[in-house]
Each structure stands twice: as structure tokens, then as C-alpha cells.
């Protein structure tokens, strides 16, 4: 990572819905980083404007789903005069390798609009060193 690089704007990507929605509003995909260490898989998602009460994380049938809702009451009585980005809820889901994670020990943390999920690996998928005899 070279932090000296100039930042560029990332256009928000819209969620492509598998199922049809009854709500006409647009939902965006949070920018996501996924990385792995020896003990855990970490998923980092950018969801500016979502506070911890409005973030929803579920793991069901090996699918990790995250949704974040924006509090629109903050925009009440505000009239847009100049805009460069759109605002909406966030939703994204990932398929997890079956039985690879300890689902009961998944932890989540939210700082500066960034959600960090840590999925500890199940014991059986952790790398094991095999001693030479």
C-alpha cells in the first residue's frame, strides 16, 4: 500500500437483486475487502452513514449477509442543491465455504462507517504443521 497515492472517487455500485423488491428505492453494494490470516477470515465493508443499531449481520446456510440501513431522518428539511453521489441502504452477501468457520464466534465491529467482521476458522480447517519423524 502506498499511502502517498491520490485518492480517486469510487462510483457506488448498485446491488443487482436476485429477487424482486417491492420497494422502488436503490440499494448499494458496500466496497469490501476480504483477507485471510492463519486463524480467521476478515471481511471489511464500507457503509458510511450506518450506525451499529442499523447494521444487520446473519449467517445462514453458509451465506454471510450484511445489510445496513441509512437514517433518513437526518436528511429531513434538507433540499439538495448540488450532488455528486447518491444515498441509500447497503446490502451484500457472500457464500462461505461450508463448515469452515466457527459461526458462534463471529465478531463484528463498526468504526467510522466501516464494518469489520472476523470469522474464526473452524479447528479442522486451520493449517496444521506435520512433524517429521
Amino acid at each position: 500500500m502506498a499511502p502517498a497515492q491520490e485518492l480517486e472517487v469510487q462510483q457506488k455500485r448498485e446491488l443487482e437483486k436476485k429477487d424482486e423488491s417491492t420497494i422502488p428505492a436503490r440499494v448499494f453494494l458496500p466496497n469490501t475487502d476480504i483477507f485471510e490470516t492463519e486463524d480467521a477470515l476478515t471481511v471489511v465493508m464500507e457503509m458510511p452513514g450506518v450506525n451499529r443499531e442499523h447494521a444487520d449481520i446473519t449467517v445462514e446456510d453458509d451465506v454471510l449477509s450484511v445489510s445496513g440501513r441509512i437514517d433518513f431522518s437526518k436528511y429531513e428539511n434538507l433540499q439538495p442543491v448540488y450532488t455528486e453521489y447518491n444515498v441509500g441502504h447497503y446490502r451484500r452477501s457472500f457464500n462461505l465455504a461450508p463448515n469452515s468457520f466457527d459461526e458462534h464466534r463471529i465478531s463484528a465491529e463498526m468504526t467510522h462507517g466501516v464494518l469489520t467482521l472476523t470469522l474464526p476458522k473452524a479447528e479442522r480447517v486451520k493449517p496444521r504443521k506435520i512433524p517429521l519423524r
Binding site: 485518492l7 433518513f72 450532488t83
Partner: protein
Amino acid sequence: MALSLADPFDTLFRFQRALEQQLDSDWLENATSGIGAFPSINVFQRGSDFVAIIELPGVSKDDLGLEVRGNTIRIYGKKTLDYGAKASMHRRERIAGNFDRTISLPVRLDPDRITADYREGILALSLPRAESDKPKAIKVN
């Protein structure tokens, strides 16, 4: 466009439409250094004052700088990502780097009353219009 919260879904849709309609707005004209530069800025009107809302997810307060001179506001800082040394990346969509952007508003501001609030990755700048810039009612004799 007054936002009422009677139907939250409808409100969201109408709000997104209103944001979209302003995408080609020339309100700031050439007053912003580089349209499309980071970070993206939305400007709203609230009564006679203005509010600028800027998304800066993952930027810590200590890495964020703000300066005001006259009508010009400078937002600068850096965004860093930390993965730890031994991590192997599977997906990388977030970007890190420095940013420095200046916007000038086409109205006179009261620099002493400008306030900034940063939470949940969103910087909200409250930009009150200078008293001298506000329309004055003239009494007809």
C-alpha cells in the same frame, strides 16, 4: 421538496430521485476544484443556510483536516488501510491514499459559525450564510 417520513420507503425513493436530479447541477459551477475529485460532496439547503455532506468511510478524525477562508472550504487528509502483515488478500475494493479538495460556495458564509460533525464515516459541515448575505425585507412606506 419537503421530506416527510410518512412512508419511509417512498421517502427514500423520492430522496434518491431528488439527489439524481441535482447531479448535473451547475450550482457550484467552477467553484469546486475538480468535479469528480475525492471526496464526493453533496450540498443541501436548509432554510437560508447550507449543509455539505461528505462520505469518508474509514478515515479517522485525526487524519482529517478542515480549513475555511472566506467562502472557501478545504477538506484534506489521508485514508489508510491496515490488514496486518500476515494477511493474504482475497478481495480488495477499498482504496487508500491522500485527498485534498477545495470548494467555494457561491454565497457569503459566516466563517465563525461553521461547524463540522464527523460520525459513522460521514462529515457534515453546517455552513451558515453571512448575515450580510441574507435578503432583507424592505418596508414599503
